[in-house]
Symmetry: C2
DNA sequence: CTGAAAGCGCTAACAT
DNA sequence: ATGTTAGCGCTTTCAG
């Protein structure tokens, strides 16, 4: 940071007070066209760039928000980050991107940093269900919005998905296609939202008189490989499932890979449905049937909620917005052969 | 930002000077274990979080860097962002993520913001070849590292790929497989790095006595759909290519989609090779043959270069590190039928 | 309509 | 070994 020109320099050179310069920069009180023009010219000449860190200190507002996601290299989170940046930008906010790497320790470290950096707000997809450190933040007055994860005791707003409905619909879709041996690839460890997805699956089976087989539920990982490995396990189970639901598209894509590696075909031999509807899911072979996650919408809602908190117009009640989900039927599911 | 406890409060309550508190926080001069402990206790009690914006103002260092990428929802950039965040985090830097959306105007706006926010450095994948605004930054003393794009007149370091070699190898691979009708899906508009890729392709054809057919070069878009559309055009060309090289994996995946939609098979009817080696490329059907882009390595090199500039130990010469590329042969390429 | 000046919370030179 | 204090560059109240 070797920027030396300050507002005083501008003021001196333009023959006005620093107050005037500040006001022309921020358009915050009337300044005669004459002075205004003079100030602008000097700023231009000296290539002046206002120091926002000084401004932030004074104004107690940084115009930056923190965003903590598990892993930006996951397409869902990448799209979500992108959307939040987009929306933030148009409201004059920058976003500090933080990856927790599914690691509570790193997440908490980041929260400390962001807090010390005095971000105006925080949008977070937490790694755990633990609410204490989030509530500390909230209690300290930092606006926090929780995304995509249920944190039961959190004292702040969240925007969630109707996960239960998502897998319920997916399962019913499969059942209607004649499947009854429907497997489920779950995430590596439970969290309320994943439990909800599992519940949707279970409920659909139950309602249709299909007995749940525990050996058809298996855990995957957070990458493509995880889905492939889970599927490999499933392929060894007897009876072999004729359909599988994965907790996300990445796993589903890994699963397809594993199936085809066994000389089986999707959907002829096994149907697959994913969750998230990441961009590539329309371009896989076969195109993936999946539950559409409205990422941009989630970002919008999150930002609106955050804005309200920033403006102090947030309702006292803890908002919990649940976005509806919709099954997108493509080519990876078919009538049982 | 309604954090009210300041270093003075801590000092007062602990019965020490603010200097002492500052020094225990930053470990910047000796403080007796006794005072140190007392201060720590008070900080704990009052849930004190040092105000880094004040610190930054004073210290003229924000410990945050700006990262401008075209679009974080592109898997390559998502991985790159992730890697830079990761490396930055371990050196105590936060990163402000900015998407230029391939839009020079937005890019320049972000540069202004980042500059005013006094980021310590900037890592950028520029949208254009235009160096002026980058050089202004450089001249103003802001450490800038250019990634993945050739900006000929830029007066700062860059870390690039050996793009020429990448497509050259890809093309030779195809030629060895017996192909001579090799098409090329280019990006929507030219930039030096894409021109280099095209050069590699041309050179390989030429060296092998294959005549370049201009009608086999077509432009795609920045998403999967763009690749699919480009491929559709190619499929209408006579003679139809037996192999195609795409400027990135996303396009290649879109192209595969388009091919299969015409009841043709990859690689039996048409071979495809991509560029980037994004994670999903090992899991497509067929697995994509592609040029591996060492994303984490690029992030590391970029950060090292940046660090040097931050420490003022950067060489005077403008560094231009070119990372080697390597073709990963998977299943989307085969001997001509 | 414009200016003077206090102070945001911290760091670090200087003093003891 | 610790304390005092002058700013960092800006915003904003208060005065005129």
């Amino acid at each position: 940071m070797i920027f030396i020109i300050t507002i005083r320099d501008i003021a001196k050179r333009a023959g006005v007070s620093v107050a005037t310069v500040s006001h022309v920069i921020n358009n915050t009180r009337f300044v005669s066209e004459e002075l205004r023009e003079k100030v602008r010219k000097v700023m231009e000449e000296l290539d002046y760039h206002p120091n926002l860190v000084a401004g932030s200190l004074r104004r107690k507002k940084t115009n930056t928000i923190g965003l903590i996601v598990p892993d930006n290299s996951n397409p869902v989170f990448a799209e979500l980050s992108r959307a939040i940046e987009d929306i933030g930008f148009s409201s004059g906010y920058s976003v500090i991107l933080c990856n927790s790497a599914y690691n509570l320790d790193k997440e908490i470290k980041y929260v400390r940093v962001l807090r010390s950096k005095r971000v105006d707000g925080l949008i977070i997809i937490p790694t755990t269900v633990q609410a204490t450190y989030i509530n500390q933040l909230v209690d300290s007055g930092l606006p926090v919005i929780i995304l995509d994860r249920t944190v039961p005791d959190a004292k702040t707003d969240s925007v969630l998905l109707d996960n239960y409905q998502g897998t319920y619909d997916a399962t019913v879709h499969l059942i209607k296609l004649g499947h009854s041996l429907i497997a489920y690839i779950d995430r590596p460890f439970d969290l309320p939202h994943s439990l909800d997805r599992l519940r949707g699956y279970r409920k659909a089976l139950e309602e249709n008189g299909i007995q749940l087989k525990d050996e058809l539920i298996v855990r995957g990982g957070f990458d493509y490989e995880g889905g492939a490995e889970a599927m490999q396990k499933l392929l060894k189970r007897k009876p072999t499932p004729t359909a599988v639901i994965a907790f996300n598209d990445i796993s589903a894509i890994g699963a397809i890979r594993a199936i085809e590696d066994c000389e089986l075909k999707v959907p002829q031999d096994i149907s697959i449905v994913g969750f998230d509807d990441i961009p590539q899911s329309s371009f896989t072979t076969p195109r993936l049937t999946t539950v559409h996650f409205p990422k941009y919408r989630m970002a919008e809602v999150a930002f609106e909620l955050l804005q309200k908190k920033l403006e102090g117009t947030s309702s006292d009640r803890r908002a919990e917005i649940v976005l509806p989900l919709r099954l997108v039927v493509r080519e990876s599911t078919a009538k049982i052969g």
